[in-house]
C-alpha cells in the first residue's frame, strides 16, 4: 500500500498526550458527575407511556397485512403468488383455483391464502410485488395471540383486517383502479409525526431533525499526522 493510499483510506489517530489533571481522572469524573446530576435535577423524561399513550406512527409504518377487496367486495388477489415469491421469510402460502363462474372477469383467485404473521418480518416486499395491489400493510402493530395458529392469518381474517382499516385515514386503500392514491407517495409526503413524539427542548433530539444522518467530518475528531 502506498503512502498516498494511506492518506486517503486510513485516518491515523494519535494517542492524545494527557496532562496532569487528566491523568488523575478527577476532572473527567467531575465532568461526568455534572452531566448525570444535571439530568437528575433537570428531569425531562422522553419515555412514552405506551398503553395509555398510543404512538402516532409514520405513514410508512408497516404493520399487519390486509387483503384488499375490489369494488364488488371480492378479494382483489388474483393468486399470482408473486408476494409468496418475493417474501424473504416464506410466510405466505397460497392455494390458487380457477375463479368461480360468477366472476367472468377473473381467471384465478386464491382458494386459500394463509399468512404467518409470526414468521413475517414486515419488510413490505409482498406489497411491492403485488401487481394488483391486493396485499397491503396497515398500521396495526399490536398483534398478539395465545397460540401460533391464531396468528396464521387466513384469507377471511386478512379481509377482515381490510374491513377494519379501510376507513382509517392512515390506511386508505392506496390504489384506485391501478392508479396509486395520495397515501402511496411516501417520498413526497411529510410524515405525520416521528415515531416517538419529541418534547420541546429535548436534549437528545435538539440539534438535527430526527432521522437525519449527518455527513461526518473527520477533521472534528482526528488529526492527520503531519
Amino acid at each position: 500500500m502506498t503512502a498516498a493510499a494511506d492518506n486517503q483510506d486510513v485516518i491515523w489517530v494519535e494517542e492524545p498526550e494527557i496532562g496532569f489533571w487528566e491523568a488523575t481522572f478527577l476532572p473527567a469524573i467531575v465532568e461526568g458527575l455534572k452531566t448525570t446530576i444535571r439530568h437528575v435535577t433537570n428531569y425531562q423524561p422522553v419515555t412514552q407511556q405506551y398503553p395509555e399513550e398510543k404512538p402516532i406512527l409514520p405513514l410508512h409504518y408497516r404493520g399487519v397485512h390486509r387483503l384488499n377487496r375490489d369494488e364488488q367486495g371480492r378479494v382483489k388477489c388474483v393468486a399470482c403468488m408473486l408476494c409468496a415469491t418475493a417474501c424473504p421469510a416464506n410466510c405466505i402460502d397460497i392455494l390458487a383455483a380457477a375463479a368461480p363462474p360468477q366472476w367472468p372477469d377473473r381467471d384465478k383467485y386464491p382458494a386459500s391464502f394463509v399468512l404467518d404473521e409470526l414468521r413475517c418480518i414486515y419488510c413490505g416486499m409482498c406489497e411491492e410485488a403485488c401487481p394488483v395491489d391486493a396485499i397491503e400493510l396497515t398500521h396495526i402493530y399490536d398483534l398478539t395471540g395465545t397460540s401460533r395458529n391464531e396468528l396464521m392469518y387466513d384469507r377471511e381474517k386478512l379481509l377482515d383486517v381490510f374491513d377494519q382499516t379501510k376507513d382509517d385515514p392512515r390506511d386508505p386503500t392506496r390504489t384506485r383502479r391501478g392508479r396509486l392514491g395520495p397515501a402511496a407517495e411516501f417520498g413526497s409526503l411529510p410524515t405525520v409525526a416521528p415515531a416517538t413524539p419529541i418534547t420541546p427542548g429535548d436534549r437528545s433530539a435538539q440539534a438535527p431533525a430526527p432521522g437525519v444522518i449527518h455527513p461526518h467530518k473527520p477533521s472534528d475528531w482526528s488529526r492527520k499526522p503531519s
Binding site: W12, E14, E17, F20, W21, A23
Partner: protein, 390 residues
C-alpha cells in the same frame, strides 16, 4: 439471657431492615438511573412504582428455579447463601448509631465492643468471594467460571489497598474498634474527621470498596457484554436474588464504613455532638448517620452512570500500580507522623503531595512511552504507530 434476647432481636431488626432497605435501594437506583437517562423508571406497581420491590420479590419467589443439568448441585445452592451470609455477617460489628451511653435496646449494634471490628469486617467480606467463585464454578458454564475468576482476582487485589488505607485511620485513632473510631472523631469535632487528615486514604478506601462490592465501574465479574452476566449467568429466581441482595448489602456496608471511618459517623457539628443532651438526641444522631450513609449510596449510584467500566488490565493496573503503593506510602506517612509526634495536620499536605506525585509519575511515564514509540517508528522510517507501535 436478656442479653441474648436483645441480641437476637437486634439481629432480626437489623437484617430485616437491611433487606428491606436493599429492596428499596434497588428501586431508588432504578429510578435514579432512569432520571439520569431521561426515562421514567419503574412506575407500574403502585404510585411511582413503590411496590415494585414487592413485585420483584414475588417474582423471584415464584419464578422457575433452574439448576443446570451438569452443575454441582450442592455448591450451586450453597454459593448464593454464602454470598449473602458473609455480607450480612459483616454487619454484626457495624455501629449504626451512637453506642456507648445507650440502654441495651438502643445501642444500635449487634456485637458491641469488638476490638477488631474492622479486621472482622475484612475477614468476613473476604469470604464473600467464595460465593462468587463457587457460583461460577458450580454452574458448569465457562462464562460463569470466567466471571468468577475475574471477581476473585479483583477482590484479592483490592483487599490490599482497602486494608492498608484503613490502617492509617487505625493508627491515628490507635484502635480497630469502630465505635472508638467514631468516638475519636466525635470528640474532636468537625475538623477531627479523618477525611481532613486522611483524604488520600478515603479516596483509596472508597475506590477499593467499589471494587470489592463489584460495583460499576469495577463490575467486571458480571459484565453483560463479555460474560453474559458473569458468575450468575445460570442463576435464576431466589438464588439470583440472594446474590443480588448480597451485592447490595455489601454496598451498604461499605457506605457505612466510609462514613464511620472518614466522615465522623453520627457526629455533626452543632446538631449531633457528644455533648448534645437534648431529648431524642440519639434519634438525631441515628438520622445524621443514616443520611450520611444515604448520601454515599446515592453517590455510588451516580458514579455508576458516570464512569464507564474499566478494562480488566486497567483494573489490575489501578490496584497494583497506583492504589497499593499510594496506600503504603500513606501508611508510612501516618506512622512517621505518629512516631515523631508531629502535628497531625501535616498529613493533609503529605496526602495531597503523594497524590500529585503519583499523578506526575503517571503523566511522565505515559509521555515517555509515547515519545519512545514515536522515536522508534521514525527511526525505522515507518509511519507513526505504523510499525513497532502496533
Amino acid at each position: 439471657m436478656a442479653d441474648l434476647i436483645t441480641t437476637l432481636l437486634t439481629i432480626a431488626v437489623a437484617v430485616g431492615a437491611i433487606l428491606t432497605t436493599v429492596a428499596y435501594l434497588i428501586l431508588l437506583e432504578r429510578k435514579l438511573s432512569a432520571w439520569m437517562q431521561d426515562r421514567r423508571g419503574p412506575n407500574r406497581v403502585g404510585p411511582f412504582g413503590v411496590f415494585q420491590p414487592l413485585a420483584d420479590g414475588l417474582k423471584f419467589l415464584i419464578k422457575e428455579d433452574v439448576i443446570p443439568a451438569r452443575a454441582d448441585k450442592v455448591m450451586f445452592l450453597a454459593a448464593p447463601c454464602i454470598g449473602l451470609l458473609t455480607t450480612l455477617l459483616a454487619f454484626a460489628v457495624v455501629p449504626f448509631g451512637p453506642v456507648n451511653d445507650q440502654p441495651a435496646y438502643l445501642r444500635f449494634i449487634i456485637a458491641p465492643h469488638v476490638d477488631i471490628g474492622i479486621v472482622f469486617i475484612f475477614a468476613v467480606t473476604s469470604l464473600a468471594v467464595y460465593g462468587v467463585i463457587l457460583g461460577g464454578w458450580a454452574s458448569n458454564n465457562k462464562y460463569s467460571a470466567l466471571g468468577s475468576l475475574r471477581a476473585s482476582a479483583q477482590v484479592i487485589s483490592y483487599e490490599i489497598p482497602l486494608g492498608m488505607s484503613v490502617l492509617g485511620v487505625a493508627l491515628l485513632g490507635g484502635t480497630l474498634n469502630l465505635e472508638n473510631v467514631v468516638a475519636a472523631q466525635a470528640q474532636g469535632g468537625f475538623w477531627q474527621w479523618y477525611i481532613w487528615t486522611q483524604p488520600l486514604a478515603a479516596l483509596i478506601f472508597f475506590t477499593s470498596a467499589l471494587a470489592e462490592a463489584n460495583r460499576l465501574p469495577f463490575d467486571l465479574s458480571e459484565c453483560e457484554q463479555e460474560l453474559v452476566g458473569g458468575y450468575h449467568t445460570e442463576y435464576s429466581a431466589m438464588k439470583f436474588a440472594l446474590f443480588f441482595l448480597g451485592e447490595y448489602t455489601h454496598v451498604i456496608t461499605m457506605s457505612f464504613l466510609t462514613v464511620i471511618l472518614f466522615f465522623g459517623g453520627w457526629h455533626f457539628p452543632w446538631i449531633a455532638t457528644p455533648g448534645s443532651a437534648y431529648v431524642g438526641a440519639w434519634l438525631v444522631k441515628v438520622l445524621v448517620l443514616l443520611s450520611k450513609v444515604f448520601s454515599v449510596i446515592v453517590f455510588i449510584m451516580l458514579i455508576r452512570w458516570t464512569i464507564p467500566r474499566f478494562r480488566f488490565d486497567q483494573l489490575m493496573n489501578l490496584s497494583w500500580k497506583a492504589l497499593i503503593p499510594l496506600s503504603l506510602a500513606n501508611m508510612i506517612a501516618v506512622m512517621t507522623v505518629r512516631q515523631f509526634g508531629w502535628n497531625r495536620w501535616w498529613l493533609l499536605p503529605i496526602s495531597i503531595g503523594l497524590f500529585c506525585f503519583v499523578g506526575i509519575i503517571g503523566v511522565s511515564a505515559k509521555r515517555a512511552e509515547i515519545r519512545h514509540r514515536h522515536g522508534a517508528s521514525q527511526g525505522a522510517g515507518l509511519h507513526p504507530l505504523g510499525g513497532a507501535g502496533i
